[in-house]
């Protein structure tokens, strides 16, 4: 009897463990076996100050062994002295990471004025880096022969969902609803909503008719003719980018300093004005943006 109870408990334990693990995997953020973790690390730090003639104060900084912390030491500061700390953060994990907040903890704002780059909302794809600068300005009321401490917390979360998807992903969403093999991840109603939103906002795409007809039109654009022109290629990538955009999967991403919306506008402008010489340029931008989540 005891053995049965024991066995039941062991099985229940394993079952629940698997449930927790599965949920974590499904949710994308597990750190142990579901691919490589989400992780951030400081990779470089540089300091300088506003002293020109006299070298009275100094600022030094280093990254701790765990790469999660920069320790800054400002010595011999005085009113008007300003120290600058320039740092680089790298996404050393597999998934995109989104910065959720930047908090400055400064209990003596009358003595130190601290400003720092606000990364909130920025998404950092795998292996990407981002730089920021923290400025520490010593104010007049700073107390002589005293020591002040400050802290800046840069919080981030793993962003396994919501990254731009490739043209292939979108083809695989429409195709199964048109009788082709495959298992879509997005419900048909959602896909139709996306196409309707694109129709309402785009000056290039216009999806009409029944759901099936809309899907056929979209898939035809994504699949392109057998011998596609540059315009066909641009339209295919542009539609994928539109789909990413209306799905909300381009938020926080930029490419060459441009948002998805700016690239969409540029691409549609090129098409509407027949700027054939620019088709490849915009096609490449759309393509690269759609692949941001794959890096």
């Amino acid at each position: 009897m005891k053995t049965k109870i024991f066995a039941t408990l062991v099985l229940a334990t394993i079952a629940l463990g698997i449930i927790g693990y599965s949920y974590a995997c499904w949710n994308g953020g597990i750190q142990i076996n579901c691919y490589r973790k989400c992780d951030l690390a400081f990779t470089s730090v540089k300091t300088w100050d506003n002293e020109i003639e006299k070298d009275v104060a100094t600022v030094n900084a280093y990254i701790t062994c765990d790469k999660d912390t920069i320790k800054v030491t400002i010595t011999n500061a005085y009113p008007c002295y300003t120290a600058y700390i320039n740092y680089t953060i790298k996404n050393i994990g597999k998934y995109p990471i989104q910065f959720t907040s930047v908090t400055i903890i400064n209990e003596h704002p009358e003595a130190l004025e601290i400003t720092t780059t606000n990364h909130t909302g920025t998404v950092l794809c795998a292996c990407q880096t981002i730089t920021g600068t923290t400025t520490v300005h010593t104010l007049q009321p700073a107390r002589e022969n005293w020591q002040y401490e400050f802290q800046i917390k840069i919080a981030a979360k793993c962003k396994p969902k919501g990254y731009p998807r490739t043209i292939g992903f979108w083809k695989n969403q429409f195709a199964p609803y048109l009788g082709k093999p495959g298992k879509p991840q997005i419900p048909a109603q959602t896909l139709e909503d996306y196409l309707d939103q694109i129709t309402a906002q785009s000056s290039v795409f216009n999806f009409t008719g029944t759901r099936k007809q809309k899907f056929q039109q979209a898939l035809a654009i994504l699949e392109m003719p057998r011998r596609p022109t540059m315009l066909d290629k641009l339209k295919a990538q542009l539609l994928a980018l539109w789909l990413n955009y209306v799905a909300g999967w381009t938020e926080g991403y930029t490419l060459n300093g441009m948002t998805a919306w700016q690239i969409i506008q540029g691409s549609e402008n090129a098409i509407n004005n027949g700027l054939t010489g620019k088709y490849e340029y915009w096609k490449n931008l759309c393509d690269q943006f759609n692949n941001l989540g794959e890096t």
Partner: protein, 173 residues
């Protein structure tokens, strides 16, 4: 025994159940931890040489000198100023007295410090003050003369003070 096993497994179940949830909500905070050490500006009277009666304050910021003065006999006082702070100090001086007419008319004052004087941190400078009474047709008097050295760095200042109380007695020595 059974209860213990049951309790242990129950705890284990909860632990495992929340592990997956916790992992799926990955969060990380990188941080910049800083310490700002503020400098200090301070000058003190490190040493002095005088023939007058002297008394120095505990903080070495004020030196009181008291005695008699005789005509045409220079009163020499040597003051060693130390920059006891961590910043350079720019030093200047001022003289005040309780009898300006008498001071301006019958006294000469000189010192060997070229102003403004830049005194680096932890360094010293020795100033030789020379006060001379130039007239011998005076009634007895007592005059107070205050020589103040001010150190400046940015908006910070610090001072040291030499307070002379000098008495002239007709025909005195």
């Amino acid at each position: 025994m059974n209860k213990q096993i049951l309790a242990a497994f129950t705890l284990l179940l909860f632990a495992l159940a929340i592990t997956g949830y916790a992992y799926s909500h990955w969060r990380e905070t990188v941080q910049i931890q800083g310490t700002a050490q503020i400098a200090k500006l301070e000058i003190i009277i490190q040493d002095y040489q005088t023939t007058l009666d002297s008394q120095i304050s505990q903080d070495n910021h004020t030196l009181n000198l008291k005695g008699t003065i005789t005509q045409n006999q220079p009163l020499l006082t040597s003051i060693t100023i130390q920059n006891n702070g961590t910043t350079p100090a720019t030093i200047t001086h001022t003289i005040t007295t309780n009898n300006t007419d008498l001071w301006n008319t019958y006294f000469t004052y000189s010192q060997n410090l070229t102003e403004p004087y830049e005194l680096p941190a932890e360094n010293i400078v020795t100033v030789l003050q020379n006060i001379t009474l130039t007239d011998d047709q005076l009634e007895p008097f007592t005059i107070e003369v205050t020589v103040t050295y001010t150190a400046t760095f940015q908006s910070w200042t610090d001072t040291i003070t030499i307070k002379y109380t000098l008495t002239y007695q007709e025909g005195g020595t």
